[in-house]
């Protein structure tokens, strides 16, 4: 009695054969992202771009409706000036409540000075009834990004260092062609993630860095599982003296297809729930991870093994050339 399984469903699919098409799709996405990044730029958030923080002080405790209403008034004033709100906070003690709103820079210092003054003026006008002299109770400060730029750089260095160490390990445990395929696949995944984030104009803050690292870890895991099968099948084919990279890769993909689908589904389930339920800032954090997961499952099936086959092909051609040279 034979039962359906995900693996048997793809029993006859030649994953590796159509690899030129598979390679094309990520290329298109990445190029699209690149073009957009050059033309419109990325939606860089306050953590890296710097911005301003403005606060309005209320001399009393605010009920939840009052708080929300005022918060909306303030954020609308910010948006009316062509700015995006990054975070909102509140601070309250016996003397009253303060609503703080942070937004990101959209231009250089001169542009922002004008905008900041405009926002402050608008807020003072809005809350004229509250105070005789609003200016004391409404503050506006520009927050620099120097510390954050440094942080970004150090984070990138840390990520690259971690990735290098991981890939050296893979190179040792598997073969160097697998290691190389893993590197390229990893870079592709991250680029797709960044490209999609740029295309969908999602704000990039410190949590995005964490999302990138998560996806790096995830895609390396997926890659390892498939290359583990390839490693095993190479040993099997050595016994029968037949080294056909394409066939080995295809079989490896088919064998681990069930696991790949199930694992990605389970992780996707958790993160999608988060993306659906949560506040906008958490949604912004969850979406890039979802992009990365989808990119990950795609590349671990269609890109990494196919790369391995292509690289083996190049190696094979090199060997043939050497043989013919030797004969002469």
């Amino acid at each position: 009695m034979s039962k359906f399984s995900m693996s048997s469903a793809v029993k006859n699919v030649d994953f590796v054969g159509k690899r030129n098409i598979w390679f094309l799709i990520p290329t298109v996405i990445i190029l699209a992202g690149l073009v957009l990044m050059l033309v419109i730029g990325m939606n860089v958030g306050i953590d890296f771009e710097g911005g301003a923080i403005t606060s309005v002080y209320f001399r009393e405790d605010l009920s939840t409706e009052e708080y929300n209403a005022n918060l909306e008034k303030i954020t609308n004033i910010v948006k009316d000036n062509g700015l995006t709100v990054s975070y909102t906070q509140n601070s309250s003690d016996e003397t009253g409540t303060v609503i703080l709103v942070r937004y990101t820079n959209v231009g250089d210092e001169n542009v922002m000075n004008v905008k900041n003054e405009a926002v402050k003026a608008a807020l003072i006008a809005e809350y004229q009834e509250l105070y005789d002299d609003s200016s004391d109770n409404i503050t506006m400060e520009a927050i620099g990004s120097t510390a954050s730029r440094d942080l970004l750089l150090r984070s990138v260095i840390a990520i690259v260092a971690a990735a290098i160490v991981m890939l050296i390990y893979i190179g040792f445990r598997f073969d160097w062609l697998s290691g190389l395929s893993a590197v390229i696949t990893l870079i592709v995944n991250v680029l797709i993630m960044i490209a999609l984030t740029t295309i969908f104009r999602i704000q990039i803050n410190t949590s995005f860095i964490a999302a990138v690292i998560t996806i790096i870890g995830y895609s390396i895991n997926a890659t390892i599982v498939i290359f583990d099968r390839i490693r095993e099948n190479i040993k099997k084919s050595e016994q029968s003296d037949k080294f056909n990279p394409a066939e080995i890769a295809n079989v490896a993909i088919r064998e681990s297809f069930t696991r790949t689908v199930y694992s990605t589904f389970t992780t996707l389930a958790t993160i999608t729930v988060l993306a659906i339920i949560a506040v906008p800032t958490i949604k912004e954090f969850a979406l890039p991870i979802i992009f990365g997961l989808v990119a990950g499952i795609y590349s671990s099936i269609c890109v990494a093994p196919a790369l391995w086959v292509s690289l083996n092909g190049l190696k094979g051609k090199g060997k043939k050339k050497n043989l013919s040279k030797a004969k002469k």
């Binding site: 840390a158 160490v165 964490a210």
Partner: protein, 449 residues
């Protein structure tokens, strides 16, 4: 293992899990148990600024000398020192930033999340000490405004300060100078030692008060010094002084403009939503495993539950771990790895069964399934662990918190996948029939070579 033994152990395990789940999420309030007042385990986990909010301080920045101006370089250096100070005192998720108001005045904003005792932090930050090493006998000259003639070193030459024990076994404060400080100190002590200085002691003055006067007998070139007082400091005194010196190592004057507590940047409900989403997500995963792998799925679910409980425990126990939104990403990744490991194992078992339907479950199929999955599981866990360790060591700020969460997650996932799943399987085997289909094993088309 006999059936009875299985049942007993499983029952104990069940009770343990229920108990752990309970104390993980439910705090015990004073009233209910008399004197004791326990927070739930989850309550002990330190949260980052994005999830919990915390304490903030805004400083006015003024030049040390009234006639000078505060330069950008000064500001940058001060920001760096504040960051180092926060890091050294365990507030690794604290942030420091420069603000400019519309009139062009510069301020420094410090935000630190989830502080146990805001008073402590405000003391640390709110009272930066102004420190100077002054030539002995000229203390009054120094205290006159603007008289720099007898200042040998200032707070800016100090790298760090901490409590130590001096040669009489009394509490004292140890100072480490930075490169410039080391040189200056070497020069000063050399001059005293060979009598060319004109004074024979060095006084340490903090905030206008002479803390101690040290006689110098030889040149000190090592860049370290110990401040002790006759009779020794009390531990808390020494600690306070060390903190204030460390925070006083600034080349500007910091005056507290505002301070207070502030809410999280992600909003009040962010954490609660994340937890609910997490619970729902885990629920979906558990149902999925149960449907697809049946009894094996049940085992994986129990293992996952144990994993989550252990994870929460570790997060609460290790004091330097702070949970932020990026940290949640780390948790999601590690959980994905645990589930993934179990799926790998079960799929291998299915492969074994499909190839040899007649073989015994506990004799061949299950052990072979485990054996063949080890390579992949070990490789993926080690790789991720290596990456996380590098991030921990090389990274800064939020990355470090994320890395720590990931390290804990990977280690636990390794233990869970290799040991706990196997142990649970061994416990379940004696119960019920060894029916392959009950374990989610099916015959199916092979796809191998």
């Amino acid at each position: 293992m006999s059936k009875t033994k299985s049942i007993i152990i499983l029952s104990i395990l069940a009770l343990l899990i229920v108990f752990m789940s309970f104390i993980t999420v439910v705090p015990l309030n004073k009233g209910e148990l008399g004197i004791y007042d326990f927070e739930s385990i989850v309550g002990y986990i330190k949260l980052g600024f994005d999830l919990e909010g915390g304490v903030y301080v805004v400083y006015d920045v003024e030049p040390l000398d009234e006639n000078d101006e505060v330069t950008d370089a000064n500001l940058d250096a001060t920001v760096l020192r504040l960051q180092t100070l926060l890091q050294n005192k365990g507030y690794s998720e604290g942030t420091v930033a420069v603000q400019t108001d519309v009139s062009g005045n510069k301020h420094i904003r410090v935000e630190v999340p989830d502080v146990q005792d805001p008073e402590d932090l405000l003391n640390l930050l709110g009272n930066p000490a102004e420190m100077a090493f002054v030539a002995g006998g000229h203390e009054e000259d120094y205290k006159e405004e603007g008289n720099e003639e007898y200042i040998l070193l200032t707070g800016t030459d100090v790298d760090t300060a901490f409590v130590t024990v001096d040669s009489n076994n009394l509490y004292a404060v140890a100072l480490k100078f930075n490169e410039t400080g080391k040189e200056k100190f070497a020069v000063a002590t050399t001059n005293i030692a060979n009598g060319t200085a004109g004074y024979s002691t060095i006084s340490i003055i903090v905030d206008g008060e002479t803390i101690s006067t040290a006689s110098v007998s030889e040149a000190i070139t090592g860049g370290e010094a110990v401040i002790s007082t006759s009779g020794g400091f009390e531990y808390t005194q020494a600690e306070q002084l060390a903190m204030r010196i460390a925070s006083g190592a600034f080349n500007v004057k910091l005056k507290t403009n505002q301070s207070g507590e502030v809410s999280s940047t992600l909003g009040e409900s962010a954490l609660r939503q994340a937890l609910i989403a997490g619970a729902i997500g885990i629920g979906i995963v558990m149902i999925f495993m149960l449907v697809v792998y049946r009894k094996l799925g049940l085992i994986a679910d129990i293992a996952l539950l144990i994993y989550v409980l252990l994870y929460m425990l570790c997060m609460a126990i290790f004091p330097w771990v702070q949970l932020t939104l990026p940290g949640i990403a780390g948790i999601i990744l590690s959980m994905g790895m645990v589930v993934d490991a179990n799926i790998i194992i079960f799929e291998r078992m299915r492969d074994e069964y499909a190839g040899n339907p007649g073989k015994s479950l506990d004799g061949t199929i299950f052990p072979q399934g485990f054996r063949k999955s080890y390579a992949a599981i070990i490789d993926s866990n080690v790789t991720t662990l290596l990456g996380a360790i590098i991030l921990w060591v090389v990274g800064t700020g939020a990355i470090v918190g994320f890395a720590m969460t990931l390290v804990i997650g990977v280690v636990l996932s390794f233990v869970t996948a290799i040991f706990i799943t196997k142990a649970l399987l061994n416990l379940f085997l004696p119960l019920g029939k060894k029916n392959p289909r009950a374990y989610g094993l099916t015959t199916r088309e092979g796809v191998g070579l």
